[in-house]
């Protein structure tokens, strides 16, 4: 049931991003979803009282799946999205632990923005490297920054239960 809920969310995000293409430059729904999934997994595990690497694997796989779907739908090479979202999926469950950061709204916003920048950086870098397309660095940076800024509210609002 939980899986179905997440699948529906993924479908919804893709639907929004494909139907409202103008949103693409302002909003990175996939990163937000991966971030949410990572935090939620962390919460579930905390509730059950232990934390194993299965959480990270699950989150990584979710991120990778999401990235793969994004790559397929993008019409470009398959791999950049898989790598970036998978990486974010791996980091998301462990980012707000006592060992790394203690969650505060400010940190949540900063992490969300960082996640968006990392995702954009990996995707654009990979495409430039592996397809040889020429992208204006400034434009790419602009888009990434706008997306990162737009993601900050989600980072502030979404609070891990353990925090």
């Amino acid at each position: 049931m939980k899986m179905l809920k997440w699948m529906l969310l993924v479908a919804l995000i893709f639907l929004i991003q494909t139907q409202f293409s103008s949103l693409k430059n302002f909003f990175n729904g996939a990163v937000i979803l991966v971030y949410l999934f990572g935090l939620k997994s962390r919460q579930d595990i905390s509730l059950h009282g232990y934390f194993s690497s299965k959480t990270e694997i699950k989150s990584t796989l979710f991120g990778a799946f999401l990235g793969l779907a994004e790559d397929i739908l993008s019409g470009s090479i398959i791999g950049p999205g898989l790598l970036s979202k998978g990486l974010l999926g791996l980091i998301a469950p462990v980012i707000f632990t006592d060992m790394v950061f203690r969650w505060t709204p400010l940190w949540g916003g900063i992490v969300m923005a960082l996640f968006t920048l990392i995702d954009g950086g990996i995707i654009i870098g990979s495409r430039v490297l592996f397809t040889g397309i020429e992208i204006s660095g400034f434009t790419a940076f602009q888009v990434m920054v706008v997306q990162a800024v737009m993601s900050i509210p989600f980072g502030i609002i979404v609070k891990p239960q353990t925090a």
Partner: protein, 262 residues
């Protein structure tokens, strides 16, 4: 395994999968969404198409094989027929040459059947009274004497073969010039009669018609002397003649005018 190592392992796996995928696609056309979605269907489709094509090919090959077998049989029959025609052509050419050199020719005819009479050795030819054939006329082939016309009907005739014991023809030995009469024995060797013991007859000597019987024209080859027996005979030598023309292989013949006929 510690958590740190596990994380590192996951990270490495993620990187290797992503980088392998990207490296594999480097310099190639990007894969479209529809291509990815339809890939299993494409594989299945290609497989079934290949399977159907193989079946179709097998069926075509089978049909072709059947057709070729039929054609081969047809060709073999045709080749047989052509061989037969070639042989016939050769025989007819020889017959034509004979006809040109033999002024007494009445008609060329084809043997259409063996005679029905059990007591006589005869063949039936496809020419009769309508072609000018009369009873007693000599019948020859390119090889030599065959027999004489025994009965004549409008469109076919019976030929009494030399093999028949009722058949006789006046002959002469080509080298020794001895004369005699060749009679049928019912077998494939005929008897040369009335050659006196002092007549020198050698084996292999050619026997031709002498024309003295008034039926057969002079000089038609009959056969060669097979065996000569002088000892133990009273009045005449016992001479066997091997015919040039075997009675078993007569196909086309020529009918000649009687000796002294018009």
């Amino acid at each position: 395994m510690s958590k740190g190592k596990k994380r590192l392992l996951i990270l490495l796996a993620l990187f290797s999968v992503a980088l392998t995928l990207m490296s594999f696609q480097h310099g190639r056309r990007p894969v479209s969404f529809t291509e990815v979605v339809s890939y299993p269907y494409d594989v299945l489709n290609r497989f079934t198409a290949h399977l159907m094509l193989s079946f179709k090919k097998a069926r075509t090959t089978f049909d072709e094989n059947e057709r070729m077998k039929k054609e081969l049989t047809q060709l073999l029959i045709e080749r047989q027929r052509y061989n037969e025609i070639i042989q016939e052509n050769k025989r007819l050419k020889e017959l034509l040459q004979l006809k040109e050199h033999q002024p007494r020719v009445i008609a060329a005819a084809k043997v259409i059947a063996r005679g029905y009479d059990r007591l006589l050795s005869t063949v039936i030819i496809d020419k009769g009274r309508a072609a000018g054939i009369e009873k007693g006329m000599a019948v020859i082939t390119t090889r030599g004497l065959v027999g004489k016309v025994y009965t004549v009907r409008d469109d076919f005739s019976d030929v009494l073969l030399m093999k028949d014991s009722n058949f006789s023809v006046a002959v002469r030995l080509q080298n020794s010039r001895q004369e005699g009469v060749v009679s049928g024995t019912g077998l494939d060797r005929y008897l040369l009669k009335y050659v006196p013991p002092e007549g020198s007859v050698t084996k292999g000597e050619v026997v031709v018609t002498s024309g003295l019987d008034g039926v057969f024209p002079e000089g038609i080859p009959v056969g060669v002397v097979g065996t000569v027996k002088r000892e133990g005979v009273e009045f005449f030598q016992h001479i066997e003649v091997v015919p040039f023309q075997s009675s078993a292989t007569i196909e086309e013949v020529i009918v000649l005018k009687k000796e002294g006929g018009r």
